[in-house]
């Protein structure tokens, strides 16, 4: 495939963008030091530019005013001139590689939190509370409106003086501009509300002020929603009218279009579609906007694959594609397209680990790429071949940690062997992918399969490595990533020993057939519990999911739990919280589960034919303890070196003393159950210096 449309340059305002691919504005949660674009921020965007991305619009929800707090999400603070030199560093780093960089600027109005930092009073056109952030706010006054309009203009000036290529005004996700637009939130009767023109006024004054400040040779774009999907919100036809109205000014250089509003939990999930969504679910909305405007239209939402992007662009639906999570997973996406290495692209699987962390105020990280956002620490996206001696590296366990360890070791030029007891790679990813609408998570494994094969890793599938096999291979370095087993034995009364309960692995892995009337007890509240519940319901079982936590799936992030809830409610699954599983016993053909209320101690019973317990993983430590004392380093990891991304000091002993045995390291759940990212991160930072 030639990717002619994808790689065609485009003119936006006075700027030429080298291709049609945009990393759209998202909160990176990297702007530390009071909202400054410091080293981590710069390196994160430099990597995308180095990798060929045409345009990066950085700083999702970067604030223009001090009463729009930036601290919650470490977003960029454009309310002070202090930002200008930081922008210069950022612009230089991106321009050096031929990329362009703009920034999203906004006032978030009511869409924030007031209970921290400067303890601001949040503002909104009519003082109506926002559900997602549970935020109350005041009704904005005329003086404040004009102050904020000026703040926008000053913020744009700072972006321009900092050498950035443009600004994107956020009128999406129910920020202040579109809070004024939406009759759902704007109930004013003065010149700022009511009629169409009045609701448009604030945004229009912002646009005019910004344009007057920066002139014609600086890009000013507008990011809008294509349809709020609320009965009382803005419809697609409303949004076309709004887009055409602003376009007619001739002062907007581009439109970014996103489907769906986002001021409820359910609509928010649409904005960053997870793996349950089809590809580009809201492209039609952006295409509709493109019909009525005269400038380029950018659209992002579940565009992850360059072939898909090429198809969208060649079809003329939009002018530029946002591939934002695609770049978080692989900032070298475009470079790989150009190198003819499309099948080496680490494709985003839509796990939404990145955005779910962001909504918790945590830094954006990729579930499968531990180097993303850690460029400033020296973690590499491209592993350089070692100049040192070739080692024999044996990895036991083909889950995410083991696969990453084998990959990195092989990229370093070592002779890597990977053992996996199952017939296929993936570990718990394989189990997770069995649930309805979760199959795409297997994309993580698929990439590793391609890479490990390309790198010539000796993959011994269906082979359980024991002490003797490992010794025969005479490894220099041995990595155990053997994972663990469902931890059903923690409470004897559950009856695991008597076979009264089964694990989510048993059900998802197909080892145990789904019952007809099933109780799922999930004390972990991560993806596993809701996944097995959805799976059982999908197979026709009547299911109740019970947790002792505050709600089922409590630890599933904000853009993921809604798609599970939609599915579970749709299948009439009963969701019960605050009950712990006390005991299971058999009564005739049936099983009785005794549940105990967390707060009252009151017990109640359920009569079912199957009890599934999700209690996480118990590490598989047997092989480790069998080999620990034979190893040079007694299995110990030097934490200071590991955390500082430095080589393990014990590696030097391989050169000093030949034949003195192997180095032993443990990764992933066989140490303690954590998650995919943790396993991959440990593998990368440990193995990159082998």
């Amino acid at each position: 495939m030639a990717f002619d449309a994808l790689l065609e340059p485009i003119q936006i305002g006075k700027q030429t963008i080298r291709n049609r691919v945009v990393s759209t504005a998202h909160a990176e949660v990297h702007a530390t030091d009071g909202g400054m674009t410091t080293a981590r921020y710069v390196k994160y965007y430099e990597e995308k530019a180095k990798g060929g991305c045409g345009l990066s619009i950085c700083g999702g929800s970067s604030v223009v005013s001090i009463d729009s707090p930036q601290g919650w999400w470490s977003s960029v603070n454009l309310s002070t001139d202090r930002i200008i030199p930081h922008f210069q560093n950022l612009a230089d780093a991106v321009h050096k590689h031929g990329g362009k960089i703009m920034i999203q600027i906004t006032h978030m109005g009511r869409r924030s939190r007031w209970d921290g930092y400067d303890w601001p009073v949040l503002l909104s056109p009519s003082g109506i509370r926002e559900p997602v952030h549970r935020s109350t706010c005041k009704t904005i006054e005329e003086e404040e409106i004009w102050r904020i309009i000026k703040d926008f203009a000053q913020a744009a000036r700072r972006a321009k003086e900092g050498g950035l290529d443009g600004v994107e005004l956020s009128a999406v996700h129910q920020h202040l501009i579109d809070q004024f637009w939406s009759p759902r939130v704007n109930k004013r009767t003065d010149q700022w509300g009511g009629s169409f023109e009045n609701r448009m006024r604030f945004g229009m004054e912002v646009l005019k002020a910004v344009r007057a400040e920066v002139g014609d040779d600086f890009v000013v774009g507008l990011r809008i929603c294509g349809d709020e999907f609320h009965p009382d919100g803005l419809t697609h036809e409303d949004m076309k009218q709004i887009a055409a109205y602003y376009d007619a000014t001739g002062q907007v250089d581009f439109f970014g279009v996103i489907g769906s509003g986002s001021d409820t939990h359910n609509s928010l999930a649409n904005v960053i579609p997870n793996m349950a969504y089809p590809p580009e679910p809201f492209l039609h909305l952006a295409a509709g906007i493109k019909e009525v405007v005269s400038v380029p239209v950018i659209h992002a939402q579940n565009i992850k694959d360059p072939n898909q992007a090429e198809r969208i662009l060649a079809g003329g639906y939009v002018d530029m594609v946002g591939m934002t999570r695609a770049h978080i997973a692989d900032p070298h996406l475009i470079a790989k397209v150009k190198m003819g290495q499309v099948d080496r692209i680490k494709q985003c699987v839509g796990a939404n680990y990145c955005i779910d962390r962001q909504y918790q105020g945590l830094d954006v990280l990729c579930i499968q790429n531990a180097a993303t956002s850690r460029e400033y620490m020296g973690l590499p996206h491209i592993i350089e071949k070692s100049q040192g001696p070739k080692r024999k590296v044996v990895v036991v366990g083909g889950g995410p940690g083991g696969m990453e360890a084998a990959r990195v070791a092989a990229e370093r030029g070592h002779d890597a062997t990977l053992f996996e007891a199952e017939e296929q790679l993936g570990g718990q990813i394989t189990i997770a992918a069995k649930a309805p609408q979760r199959d795409q998570i297997a994309g993580i494994t698929r990439w590793y399969q391609l890479e490990l094969t390309r790198l010539g890793v000796d993959q011994r599938l269906g082979t359980r490595a024991d002490e003797a096999t490992i010794r025969d291979l005479r490894p220099d370095i041995l990595i155990l990533a053997t994972g663990g087993q469902p931890f059903l034995s923690q409470v004897a009364e559950w009856g695991a020993a008597e076979g009264l309960i089964v694990s989510s692995w048993d059900i998802l892995g197909g080892k145990v057939a789904p019952g007809k009337n099933v109780l799922v007890y999930d004390t972990i509240c991560e993806f596993s519990g809701v996944s097995v519940t959805d799976y059982l319901a999908d197979k026709g079982a009547k299911v109740e999911i019970v947790t002792d936590d505050v709600k089922p799936g409590a630890a599933v992030g904000g853009t993921n739990f809604p798609t599970f809830y939609r599915s579970l409610y749709d299948k009439e699954v009963i969701m019960t919280s605050d009950l712990a599983l006390h005991k299971v016993y058999r009564e005739g053909d049936a099983l009785v589960a005794v549940l105990e209320n967390e707060y009252t101690g009151a017990q109640e019973e359920r009569v079912v034919d199957q009890v599934v317990v999700e209690n996480g993983v118990r590490p598989d430590e047997a092989l480790y303890y069998a080999l620990k004392d034979q190893s040079r380093n007694h299995g110990q990891v030097d934490l200071e070196a590991l955390y500082a991304i430095q080589p393990q000091p014990c590696l030097a002993s391989l050169d000093e003393e030949q034949g003195g045995g192997f180095l032993l390291f443990r990764l992933g759940d066989c140490t303690a159950p954590r998650n995919i990212h943790a396993a991959i991160y440990d593998a990368l930072r440990l193995c990159k210096d082998f």
Partner: protein, 673 residues
């Protein structure tokens, strides 16, 4: 008795040879006129033979020494024999005795040579033709031995009335056999024809610039000759043997069937239906009229395996070379697929000791197929249509030629009007792989602070592919428009990373009025390095070999600069067995990947095997086409990188200030020394 017989034999042989020569000349003159200065050409012949031809022959020491002894011995013996035995000068005292002794030495020398000729054919290597060529060593021995023995009485070693008349008759018979092969056969079409036709071919060669002169070094002439499209009498290319110029026909007749071309031809090795030697012999068959049944060398490989049978093809001077698709049961002198198998790599021309121009002939015949018949096979028609419609072979939007450089801020000639260097991007600008090379080259030029600019979307395809596919009209149209564009700007040099553009701009635009100083990027980078404008880090990678692109090496003689650049990087090149002027084509030239004639193997696969034999982990190249072909090899063990990429990676990215101070220091040093 011999003194009566010998003059008769000698002079009748000479007379028959003269008749044969006239007949041969008539055959050649069936071709189209091509004016040559007769006397000057003949005068140039000995030097061309002794210097240029010998230079080629001497690459094979065995045959070169053998040929010196045999041919030298023969020429001397023949002249002396006419004097001694024809004119009877050997009988006289004084001078005659010396002549006789000289004749003995010459014929002995020739005999020794002919022993080695015989040894060479025991058994003959596959590239040599058999048939009449197998009898040649015996004929050589018969002539030299016969002349030696009959001369012994002349110098008094043996009595004048040696033996009986029976013996005299036997000797006369042997001498007659020798004379028949060596003199009469020379013009009537035996193996010795090569000497007669070859000598005249050297004299009247269509490319006199190819030969060295006393004043200068070895000449070079590799640009295709332009067709005069306005001359309504001239055929568009060669459809029948008579459409060749007379001196082209003469050149075919000079073929000695040594098969060096066959051994060098990548298409033959790949089992594609081409053997340059057979092709030249087929042209001779066409010139004389008849069939190829008497051809005694390796025939054309058959795509399904083995060889195409001989005896099924034939023609005459006025008949078609390639059968019209709807006539003659589909065969004539050669099949079209033979002509389309050629990669125009010039390996055959480079190897040919008779300096025959195979590639000229093939392109002449392709011109006819494309221009007169519209029969360019496979993707050929599409590519030519693309070139006509979009000025590039891929049919890309001409406005997208410069898309790759959207982030490079390259200065445009249209804005600048002048620059020291005009960087010619070539059609690789549309290719993502080559764009990496272009980026690297831009980085290198910038590091050396070269004042350069590009044409951007004003550039068009150089016309290389159109011309090699026989579409001279499209070539000339592209060339003329490129020349017009170039004429608008001022620049000192053109630099390009594409040897095909390089060759066409340098050697083929001249005939259409475009004269430029053109550099291949490897040459230019080598000069930048030599003048201290590049500061390079030492090579840290593995072992490296270098693949000579045909259009840089054989076409333009540039073998050293790329190697100098690699050396500057600290790379010690692990040379392939086939390298330098003997480099094997990647398979990508002459439109061969477009016409895509099937064979048993792919040429780039064979080339990658050459690479593998060196054990190199990386093969350095200097051509977008070679890069594409070699990278297309499945499971290749070596990485393919353009020289520009290797240099760009090795750049010490110091500041402009460092460079300025370094240059100041260098100029100071220059002043001191």
């Amino acid at each position: 008795m011999l003194d009566i017989l010998l003059p008769i034999l000698i002079f009748s042989a000479l007379a028959l040879a003269a008749i044969g020569a006239l007949r041969r000349v008539r055959l050649w003159r069936q071709g189209r006129p091509s004016p040559v200065p007769i006397a000057k050409s003949l005068a140039a012949m000995p030097r061309r033979y002794l210097v240029d031809l010998h230079h080629v022959v001497a690459r094979d020491k065995y045959i070169s020494n053998t040929h010196v002894a045999t041919a030298g011995g023969f020429v001397a013996a023949a002249v002396l024999m006419i004097l001694v035995h024809g004119l009877g000068l050997g009988a006289s005292e004084g001078l005659g005795g010396v002549l006789g002794w000289l004749l003995l030495v010459a014929s002995a020398c020739m005999f020794v040579g002919s022993l080695f000729v015989a040894k060479r054919r025991r058994p003959p290597p596959p590239r040599l033709s058999k048939g009449p060529w197998m009898r040649l060593p015996k004929s050589l021995m018969a002539f030299s031995l016969g002349v030696f023995v009959i001369t012994l009485p002349s110098v008094g070693v043996l009595p004048a009335d040696l033996g009986s008349w029976v013996l005299a008759l036997v000797l006369a018979g042997i001498v007659a056999w020798g004379l028949a092969e060596m003199v009469f056969g020379m013009t009537w079409g035996g193996p010795m024809k090569h000497a007669f036709a070859g000598a005249l071919h050297l004299a009247f060669h269509r490319r006199p610039e190819r030969f060295s002169t006393q004043e200068g070094g070895p000449g070079r002439s590799t640009g295709l000759k332009a067709l005069d499209l306005d001359d309504e009498r001239a055929p568009l290319g060669v459809g029948a043997p008579r459409d060749f110029t007379w001196n082209q026909l003469l050149g075919f007749d000079a073929c000695v069937q040594c098969g060096r071309c066959e051994a060098a031809c990548p298409a033959f090795a790949a089992g594609q239906p081409l053997n340059p030697k057979k092709l030249i012999q087929d042209m001779v068959v066409g010139m004389v009229g008849g069939s190829d049944a008497h051809y005694a060398g390796s025939p054309y490989p058959a795509p399904e395996g083995g060889y195409k049978p001989v005896g099924e093809h034939g023609g005459d001077p006025h008949g078609p070379i390639v059968a019209h698709p709807f006539a003659n049961g589909g065969t004539a002198l050669v099949d079209a697929e033979t002509l389309w198998s050629c990669t125009t790599c010039r390996a055959c021309v480079e190897e040919c000791p008779m300096m025959i121009e195979h590639v000229d002939a093939i392109v002449d015949m392709r011109r006819f197929l494309t221009l007169e018949r519209g029969n360019t096979p496979n993707k050929g028609g599409e590519v030519l249509d693309n070139l006509i419609a979009t000025d590039n072979p891929g049919g890309f939007d001409p406005g997208s030629r410069f898309n790759w450089a959207a982030d490079q801020n390259l200065p445009l000639m249209a804005d600048r009007q002048e620059a020291d260097v005009l960087l010619w991007l070539g059609d690789g600008a549309f290719d993502m792989r080559n764009q990496r090379t272009l980026r690297a080259l831009v980085k290198v030029l910038r590091a050396a602070e070269v004042d350069f600019a590009v044409l951007g979307n004003e550039e068009r395809d150089s016309g290389d592919v159109a011309r090699r596919l026989g579409d001279e009209a499209t070539f000339q149209s592209l060339a003329r428009r490129n020349i017009a564009t170039l004429s608008r700007y001022r620049f000192t040099h053109i630099v390009t990373c594409d040897p095909h553009s390089f060759h066409v701009l340098k050697n083929e635009y001249g005939a259409l009025g475009g004269h430029y100083s053109v550099f291949h990027h490897s040459t230019y980078i080598a000069e930048l390095f030599d003048s201290g404008r590049l500061n390079l880090k030492a090579w840290k990678g593995g072992s490296v070999t270098y693949h000579d692109p045909c259009y840089l090496g054989r076409y333009n003689g540039e073998y050293e600069a790329p190697r100098r650049v690699l050396q500057a990087l600290g790379i010690e090149v692990k040379e392939m067995a086939r390298s330098g002027y003997r480099s094997r084509c990647c398979g990508g030239g002459g439109g061969a990947p477009i016409t895509d004639v099937p064979g048993k193997r792919r040429i780039p696969d064979m080339r990658m095997e050459d690479v593998n034999e060196t054990g190199a982990e990386l093969v350095a190249v200097g051509c977008p086409q070679c890069t594409a072909m070699l990278e297309g090899v499945v499971n290749a063990s070596a990485e393919v990188r353009d020289i520009a990429e290797l240099v760009a990676e090795a750049l010490n990215e110091d500041s402009a200030q460092d460079r300025a101070s370094r240059r100041a220091q260098q100029s100071e040093e220059a002043l001191v020394s």
